[in-house]
Structure formats: C-alpha cells, structure tokens
C-alpha cells in the first residue's frame, strides 16, 4: 500500500482522494492518503518516510528538494501546473510600463509562503531593480496560497487604494473574473510573469514509483466517474513532471531566506 500525503486546505480534498484511492486500487497500485494541515508537516512526513509520495506545492517541493539533496523524484503534475504564471493587477487606467515603475509604489503580496503570490513576484520585482513598499496578506500560512484567500485580499487592497499593484496567480485571476468578483471589477492586468511550474507529486530517490506514475497519467477526464474528482482537483490531464520549471523559485527562496 502506497501512502500519498496531501494538505487538507479544503474539505473537497477528502472527496478527491476518496475517489483517487478507489481509482488506484482498481489500477492495481493500492494507495491510501494521509492528510496534513500544512505543507511543512507534509515535507517532514516525506523526508521522514511517513509517506512515500507528497502532493506538493512548488514551494513545498523546493523545500523538500533542499532537504533531500537534489535527488527527489517527480511522479507527475497537472496540465495547469506546467504553465503557471503570476500576474500583477492595478486599478483600471493606472498602467505600468514595466516592473521598474513600481519603485515608489505599494505592492500587495499574498501569503509569504505562496510561490505564485509572494515569493516569485518579489523576486521579479527585485530583479527589475526596485524595492517597492510591500503590503502583505499572510493569511492561511502553511497552505502556500492554495486557498486563494490572500489573493482576494490583495485584489481588494488594490481596489481600495491601500496598494497600487498586487500579485496573484493567473488561475486565481481568471477565476475571480469569471465569477464576477467585485474585487477585480475595477482592476486590470499590468504585467505577467514568465511561465513556471506549480504543484507536483514528489517522492524520495529510492522509491519505485513507475507503476503509480503510469496509473496517474492514465486517469481520464472522459471517464464520468473520475471527472468530478478531477474537476475538483483542477486537472484535465496529468502530465509527466520534470525539474525545469522550478529554477527561478529555487533561486528566489534562497535569496529570501525561505526555509521549510
């Protein structure tokens, strides 16, 4: 029986993993799940051998990789994880030419352990040579931005005028736009980051995860019994994962002295 650790950032995680557990059993790779309340505990569990596989955010993966010594295995990721971006939103009409214009401005960031809403945007802003005043919303620490709560606060702060610009994941931005969330009604996008990777299934170097990975990648969104769980997880197709999309985040976490 393979144990997969995940963080319970929402009650739907149970629904998702109950279905996935059934799926892996049918696929011949019996799997159970263990839920943690935060990614620090999850990384401890992976490194300590309590679970064989961790369903990590990008931040958690980088932290685990540091402790494992660079030999972690990646067993898969969602289609959306392969093309993640951070966006910077401003009030309508207050466009930025580039990030350097944030110099004398206030930049709102999401939870400080969120790769997409805090660590990476701060890295790119500093790379542009500026040090804006930061307005941080450190809600749901330990969840690495999964809940999206801090990003809503970022958008609200910009809309209210408590910040001049704010960083969000592009997935959160699209979702807020789609639902007509009032916080983004008077905002628009001023900047978009390069593409990077987000979550992945991380395993220790010695673990034989080939069969598990194969079963994961075979999960089909066209199967009506799987579709609801996959939709809750936000995945249409599972992809093989590699480490090429984590270089910037690794660098950013080192610069910012982030430790898991």
């Amino acid at each position: 029986m393979i144990s997969v650790g995940a963080v319970a950032y929402h009650p739907r995680i149970v629904t998702i993993w109950e279905r996935f557990r059934e799926y892996f059993a049918e696929a011949g790779v019996p799997t159970d799940y263990v839920l943690y309340s935060n990614y620090e505990r999850l990384v401890d569990a992976l490194v300590g051998g309590e679970v064989e596989i961790a369903w990590n955010t990008n931040t958690a993966y980088v932290a685990a990789e540091e402790r494992i010594g660079g030999d972690a295995q990646l067993l898969g990721m969602r289609d959306v994880d392969a093309e993640f971006r951070t966006v910077i939103a401003v009030r309508r009409g207050e466009l930025l030419g580039d990030l350097a214009e944030l110099a004398a401005k206030r930049l709102a960031l999401g939870s400080r352990d969120s790769g997409h809403a805090a660590i990476l945007p701060l890295h790119w802003v500093r790379e542009a040579g500026v040090e804006p005043e930061l307005v941080r919303f450190d809600t749901d620490l330990g969840k690495h931005g999964d809940t999206g709560d801090s990003e809503i606060r970022v958008a609200e702060a910009v809309a209210r005028g408590d910040a001049d610009a704010g960083a969000l994941g592009d997935a959160t931005w699209v979702a807020l736009r789609a639902e007509g969330h009032p916080a983004v009604a008077e905002l628009e996008l001023a900047w978009r980051s390069p593409v990077y990777y987000h979550c992945n299934f991380t395993a220790l170097p010695g673990f034989d995860g080939a069969a598990w990975s194969e079963a994961l990648l075979a999960m089909s969104h066209d199967d009506p019994t799987l579709r609801p769980a996959m939709a809750l997880e936000g995945v249409k197709r599972w992809l093989p994962a590699d480490k090429s999309g984590y270089a910037t985040l690794t660098e950013a976490m080192r610069e910012q002295g982030y430790s898991a």
Partner: protein, 405 residues
C-alpha cells in the same frame, strides 16, 4: 487552414471577452486558427490565461499597431451538427421527430433527463427507466393524440351550466347523484393507472409522456366534474364495494399494454356507451354537458388504447396470448361479481325516467337493457379493431367486468 479574426475591442474577461471568443471559435472549422484582437494590454495578458484553462492553445501573441493580437488554436470540438429547421407558423408534435431524428426502438435505460435532440454531457447521474422499449408503449398516433388533447381541454368550473342542476324531482336527483358518484369512483382508477406509468417512461419517449400527462389531466377533471355534479343537487350516494373490487384488479395490473387493454379499450370503451346514454337521457343540462364533455376525452383515450394494442401486436405477435391471459386472470379474480350492481342499474333507470309513471319507468328500463347490449357489441367491435379475431374478441368482451370499468 484558415486564419480567422475576432475583434474584441475593450472587452474584458468576465465581461464578455470569453463569450465573444467562444462564439467565434464555434464558427471555425477544424484546423482553423483565430486571431483575437484586443485594445488593451490587460486584455492581451488575461486572455491567454483563460484560453489555456478552456483547453485552447495560445500559438502567438504580438502587437499590431496600438492593438494586441492573441492567436488561438481551438481545442477540437465536437460541435453539434445543425439539423433541419421548422418553417411553419405552427409546430405540431409530429414534427419533433423530423427535427430531432427518429425515436429509437430501445432507449438508454440509464439516460438522464435529456431533452430530445440534446447532446448529454458525461454525467454520474443514473436512472433506471422501466419503460425504455419503444414498442411496449408506442403508437404512431401519439403525437396527434397529444395535440388533440391539448386543443380540447375544458373547465369543469365554468363550462357546465351548473344552475341547471338545481330543482330536479327527488327520485331523478337520487338517480343522478348515484350514477355520478359511480362514474367518479371509476374515473379515479382511470386517473391513477396512467399516472403510475408516467413516472417510469424513458424521457426519450416524450410523446408518451405528453400523452399520459394529458390522460391524467383529463381524468382529474372527470373526477372533479362528476363529484361536483353528484353533490350539486344535495343528495349523497354510495361508493360501491363491487366497483372497488373491480378497480383494484385494474390498479394491480403491472404491464403497460395489458393495462391499456383493460383500461383504455375495455373499460373506457364501455364507458363511452355509458356516457352517451347519460348525456342523452339526463334530466338536466348540467349532467348532460358533463357527460358529453367527458365522452369527447374518453374517445381519445379509447383511440389510444386501440392504436397501442395494434402496434404492440404488430411488433410482437406473441403478446396476444399474454394480453388474453391478462383479461382472463382479471375475470377470474372477479368471479364473485354477477352482473351490473343493482344500485347502478336502478339509478340509471331513475336518471332516464321522465316521470315515476309506470310507462316511463318501463321505457327507461328498456333503454338501460339496450345500453348493456350495445356495450357488449361495441366492446367486441373495438377488440376487433385492436387486432383480435372475431371469436377471441367476443370471448374477451364477455369476460369484461360487470362493473363496466
């Protein structure tokens, strides 16, 4: 491959941009690319984030003068093929199948509540429709019968000259009240039988659902109008135990076609003659009108029954023996009934008698005897029309319940 262009101007995500882009994509052919042109940098930044999640590939992003262009390769879509359209001012139900395609012989038992012609999304909901085989519930007349039913609705509150129900001789009123009560009691069975099948019909067979719904609605009105007439003259009559026994066996029938034979062809068929009799002999216009209007509805029900049994026998000749057996079994359960209840027979005489003079009573008694003979002859004729041979038709007619329904 063609490059198409979609001018989105100042539209934003969540405020029309994705609606316009999706609509443009829907008009593309496989392999076409779409250039979406937006005025703002913000639009050009958020459109790709949406497109990726919607499954469309972002092929290129570039400036074009003051505007921004995002080139999309749409995800291959199984867009529904356009079908034939309606080109007439009315939409008869029979046209449904020309637009949506023919009714299948077997419908998917687990299908959801999918409107005709719609493509169902994959779904976890699962039904188990007991009536999912066309020929067990079908006749080609369903669409026109359902349309006629819709055109022929009437109102038991307003369409009866209720003032005419007052002031009858006490004997005549007693007869009317008992006959009306007896008819209402029987109409309850005609109400519950189609209602029971209604909920088990596969949604694919919308004509059957429309028909059964109209049948149920008709019977609800019949129960209403005959109950109202029974009470209108101030008399109270009896709900008969023999009738109850007869109706119980009708409600116990679990096969759709057997129920159609027992209820529509035999029961309601026999009631056509009864209602004609009442409308012809009633001492007041309220009773006569109620019987006449109900008779119009029952004619449709009988036509459905005959057409359905013909269809069933044409598609499954073995069904004949099962239908005969259903009539025989019901008759066996009703052996304790011998003849029409005297309460009903006497009430029909009271209703039909112009006065209590012996000669008028005698005329009315003969009219009732003639009615019973006519009922038997017409039942045989209807069974012949439904597809039974002469001797079987005669035998089944004689086996029919003495309760008439």
């Amino acid at each position: 491959m063609t490059m198409r262009r979609c001018e989105a101007g100042t539209l934003e995500l969540g405020a029309g941009l994705e609606v316009l882009v999706s609509a443009s994509i829907a008009t593309l052919r496989d392999g076409d690319l779409l250039d979406v042109v937006v005025d703002s940098r913000s639009g050009s930044l958020e459109l790709p984030a949406w497109a990726r999640r919607a499954g469309h590939e972002v092929v290129d992003e570039r400036r074009d003068g003051a505007a921004y262009v995002v080139t999309l390769r749409p995800r291959p879509a199984g867009a529904p093929m356009p079908g034939p359209t309606l080109d007439a001012p009315t939409f008869p139900t029979g046209e449904l199948r020309r637009l949506a395609g023919p009714e299948p012989r077997e419908a998917d038992r687990g299908a959801g509540l999918v409107p005709l012609g719609a493509s169902p999304e994959p779904s976890l909901t699962h039904y188990d429709w007991a009536l999912s085989s066309r020929d067990r519930i079908w006749t080609n007349k369903l669409a026109s019968l359902a349309d006629r039913a819709a055109r022929s609705q009437w109102d038991a509150t307003r369409d009866i000259p209720w003032e005419a129900a007052a002031g009858l001789r006490a004997d005549a009123e007693r007869g009317v009240a008992q006959v009306m009560t007896y008819i209402a009691q029987n109409e309850y069975a005609a109400y519950y039988v189609p209602a029971r099948y209604l909920a088990h019909v596969n949604p694919e067979y919308i004509e059957v659902l429309m028909w059964l719904a109209s049948h149920v609605h008709d019977e609800a009105r019949h129960v209403e109008v005959f109950t109202k007439r029974a009470l209108a003259g101030g008399q109270r009559a009896h709900a008969l135990a023999a009738t109850e026994l007869s109706l119980q066996t009708l409600l116990d029938e679990r096969d759709f076609s057997a129920a159609a034979l027992l209820l529509n062809v035999l029961g309601e068929g026999t009631f056509l003659d009864l209602l004609s009799f009442v409308s012809h002999h009633a001492p007041d216009a309220a009773t006569a009108t109620a019987a006449r209007l109900a008779h119009q509805d029952e004619r449709r029900h009988v036509q459905f029954g005959i057409a359905h049994i013909r269809h069933r026998l044409a598609h499954d000749p073995d069904e004949l023996q099962r239908l005969v057996a259903a009539v025989e079994e019901r008759a066996a359960k009703l052996v304790s009934l011998d003849g029409l209840s005297p309460v009903v027979g006497e009430s029909l005489v009271l209703l039909a008698a112009r006065s209590m003079q012996p000669s008028d009573i005698g005329d009315a008694g003969r009219a009732v005897r003639d009615l019973l003979g006519r009922m038997n002859r017409n039942r045989t004729r209807r069974l012949r029309a439904a597809g039974f041979d002469r001797s079987t038709a005669q035998r089944l007619s004689e086996l029919h319940t003495p309760n008439l329904m």
